[in-house]
């Protein structure tokens, strides 16, 4: 059963999601147990896959529907015809992040989301979000990538409008769904151009046979720009604050790793499909790198400046999510610019570190942003409102949430003992060697991030104990504290021991993404 692990990791939660409407008729506790069991089994399977990948070294390939899972080319042909899953370092890195984040947000929402007839659909959609993310990260087929991206966007836009008593949650879901539908349609146009040229959808086969004609470059634009749009990069970031703030807190934590899954799509398509150091004709990486860098710097700056003026705690954190995406784009962009330099001296010097910093930041961001959104969920639970001016004296009430908030805030601003620092220092060092101005901008944005979180801390946590504005005062349910505790542990542990994480997770990810260097 070991060689069937890749497909089981995707289809076991799918099977559980299909059965949930039937299980729910028995008892809602049975449904909670079944869903928790399914998501836990996904985490176990992804860890087993990671171990198997590190043992075997070569990417794992699983062909669907053939006599044997390893039969890539049918007899006597030199091109694949079936759908394939290909798991290398980078997909496992992203799959681990997504699986852990969805597990923690599901454990958090078991007690946080009130028990009513809609909770069953909430569980199904959260599990199908996990299926969408894993499918996106494992597949090696362009159209299959499109289908799983569609699964991810529809289930997350439905979850965004879960709370029906807020006036704007349906409209936030509508905007998010509209952006996703337009983005996936243009992705399909890009896939059509590739199909018309090379007759196949397999990313590995296309990587070998691509000739960078003008049509390929246009197909690149039609595929990478919509995915960057869905990842919340700067030109089309308008949906991010609405979707993140209207969604319930655990859903927003999962949404953060959903946007990172489409960021994975950006890097996977621009490297595994187009990165082709073998053939003589290469895409000119200089401009592609600089475009990513400019997007990154703009996202950083606009994200943090907009966050400073917000007074709704969830919108403030949503704008910070945009600015942190800017860090990842900056890190990988610097790596891309120097990737194709002759001799590879520049790349060896700092390009590789920048790339590692950018990719490591993806995992860190998923954990500490998830922690921050979960704490904001508790703040909304306690005060019944999201407006910072109406909150006061939270620290008296609930010291555990205060500690979690401090951990998250320090991690996001890159303060040493926490994991934000580990990846940001990598980015600062390498970007400084590339061009000092960018590094200074990055540090300045970090300072602004710390400033805005101090404002939130001062506004909501300090101040006298005030009886009349507290809505719920009893201690938090066990699962809520457990979920936030797991995120706190991860944020602290990866901050204290970044060396191991870099060696075992980030290095194979960069090796998988950028072979040959």
């Amino acid at each position: 059963m070991i060689e069937h692990l890749p497909i089981l990791a995707i289809t076991v939660p799918l099977f559980a999601a299909f059965l949930l409407p039937i299980i729910e008729k028995a008892h809602f506790r049975a449904r909670n147990a079944a869903a928790l069991l399914a998501i836990l089994s996904v985490n176990v399977m992804v860890v087993l896959l990671a171990l198997r990948l590190s043992r075997e070294g070569a990417p794992l390939v699983y062909v669907l529907g053939a006599q044997s899972p390893a039969q890539i080319l049918p007899q006597g042909l030199d091109f694949p015809i079936r759908i394939m899953l290909k798991i290398d370092g980078f997909s496992i890195f992203m799959a681990l992040t997504s699986a852990v984040v969805v597990l923690v947000s599901y454990v958090y929402s078991m007690k946080y989301v009130p028990e009513d007839p809609r909770k069953n659909y909430y569980t199904i959609l959260l599990m199908l979000m996990l299926v969408g993310m894993l499918g996106l990260e494992f597949t090696n087929d362009l159209f299959n990538f499109f289908v799983f991206l569609e699964i991810l966007s529809i289930s997350s836009s439905a979850l965004v409008s879960y709370s029906y008593n807020r006036k704007f949650s349906p409209y936030a879901g509508y905007k998010y769904m509209m952006i996703s539908a337009v983005a996936t349609s243009f992705l399909l146009i890009g896939i059509a151009f590739f199909y018309s040229q090379y007759g196949s959808f397999n990313i590995e086969y296309l990587h070998g046979v691509i000739r960078f004609t003008l049509l390929d470059k246009i197909a690149l634009i039609f595929m990478v720009v919509p995915l960057a749009m869905k990842a919340g990069a700067i030109p089309m970031h308008m949906w991010v604050p609405d979707a993140y703030s209207e969604a319930p807190a655990p859903v927003t934590a999962a949404l953060v790793s959903a946007s990172q899954a489409s960021l994975y799509g950006v890097f996977r398509l621009s490297f595994s499909l187009f990165g082709n150091p073998v053939s003589d004709v290469t895409l000119n990486y200089h401009t592609l790198g600089w475009i990513i860098i400019v997007l990154g710097v703009l996202s950083m700056f606009v994200g943090v400046t907009m966050a400073l003026v917000q007074h709704d705690v969830k919108r403030l954190m949503a704008y910070h999510a945009i600015s942190q995406t800017g860090y990842m784009l900056l890190g990988v962009g610097v790596g891309v610019v120097v990737y194709m330099d002759p001799g590879g001296a520049a790349y060896a010097a700092f390009g590789r570190d920048a790339m590692m910093g950018g990719i490591f930041h993806i995992m860190n961001h998923a954990f500490y942003k998830g922690l921050l959104f979960l704490t904001s969920g508790v703040m909304v639970l306690r005060f019944g409102t999201r407006d910072l001016n109406k909150m006061m004296g939270m620290a008296h009430r609930d010291t555990f949430t205060t500690l979690c908030f401090i951990a998250g805030a320090l991690a996001i601003s890159g303060v040493p003992p926490f994991n934000g620092f580990a990846s940001k220092i990598l980015i600062y060092e390498s970007v400084y060697r590339f061009s000092p101005i960018l590094a200074i901008i990055a540090m300045f944005v970090s300072v602004l991030t710390l400033a805005s979180f101090l404002k939130v801390f001062y506004g909501a946590f300090l101040g006298p104990r005030n009886e009349d504005i507290i809505v719920i005062d009893e201690p938090l349910p066990a699962t809520v504290t457990a979920a936030m505790g797991v995120f706190c542990f991860l944020v602290l542990a990866m901050g204290l021991f970044p060396g191991e994480v870099l060696k075992y997770l980030v290095e194979p990810a960069v090796a998988g993404l950028v072979p040959g260097r």
Binding site: F18, G65, A66, I81, P114, Y121, I154, N165, G199, I218
Partner: protein
């Protein structure tokens, strides 16, 4: 802001036009003009297989046993996409039932005071009600024909399920399903999950080879595995291995899924509703 969106539309239009000029002319074999060209020749000679499609056209019938090559590509060669597709429909059904669930809790009064289905309601003319009552069985049987003959003639799970769902739409328009909304929804969602579980368990059944492997094709002659000769043949109902079963499972899922969507959207019109209670989360 207007200028930026105008510029981006013009920019995208320019890219599309340039790209389409470089595309292979309509009707020519695949492949870019100035790079290389795939030869898509006649169907029957086996030698020059260039692209995925040539392989499907030449080996699809023998490997999967179905005459309709598109059905063999949809359910066998690229069956994982179809599983993803059935999941997309399942997600939308769950999402709409979630968003519309305030219809069923008690603090919503029924807006229209129409009577139950025992006698045809007054605001629908007798012709429509009786006509749709007569037409419904015909639509359902045509839908079932489309689903079952998916691997012989054009059709399949999605098309058959959609045709049957338009039968439900007909019944809704003529107000025949009116009262037992909650009970119909529960039964339909049970059948929808049943169809999906059958689909994915058929995928698991072939797990010894690999997921969604067509283990019944060309194997057991008596049950759905009849091997058919290459080239023109009358087409047999029991060929194509698990294809008819998958098509049936998808047909069931699509019919009940879209019927749930239609019933809930339609019954939204019957309810005046006040904004729900509940805590901000």
């Amino acid at each position: 802001m207007r200028l930026i969106s105008l510029l981006s539309v013009v920019f995208i239009a320019g890219f599309l036009l340039v790209a389409v000029m470089r595309l292979h002319p309509v009707g020519e074999p695949l492949g870019n003009r100035d790079v290389f060209r795939f030869r898509g020749d006649t169907v029957t000679d086996m030698r020059n297989v260039d692209t995925m499609d040539d392989y499907f056209l030449r080996n699809g019938q023998r490997e999967t046993g179905s005459n309709n090559i598109v059905a063999s590509v949809v359910f066998d060669y690229r069956g994982f996409d179809t599983l993803g597709e059935a999941t997309v429909l399942f997600i939308v059904v769950c999402a709409i039932s979630m968003l519309m669930s305030f219809l069923y809790n008690q603090n919503y009064v029924m807006e229209a005071n129409f009577r139950g289905p025992d006698e045809f309601p007054r605001n629908v003319s007798r012709i429509i009600s009786f006509g749709s009552f007569m037409l419904f069985p015909l639509i359902i049987s045509f839908g079932i024909y489309l689903v079952l003959h998916g691997h012989i003639s054009p059709g399949g799970g999605f098309q058959g399920g959609a045709v049957m769902a338009s039968g439900t739409a007909l019944l809704l328009i003529s107000l025949l399903i009116t009262r037992h909304v909650q009970r119909t929804k529960v039964i339909f969602s049970f059948f929808e999950s049943l169809g999906l579980t059958v689909f994915i368990s058929l995928g698991f059944a072939g797990i010894t080879a690999s997921f969604l492997y067509n283990f019944l094709a060309n194997g057991s002659p008596l049950f759905l595995g009849r091997t058919i000769p290459f080239g023109p043949n009358p087409g047999f109902l029991n060929s194509a291995g698990i294809l008819p079963l998958l098509s049936l499972a998808v047909g069931v899922e699509v019919f009940f899924g879209i019927s749930i969507i239609l019933i809930q959207l339609y019954h939204f019109t019957r309810y005046a509703s006040r904004a729900g209670g509940g805590r901000d989360i």
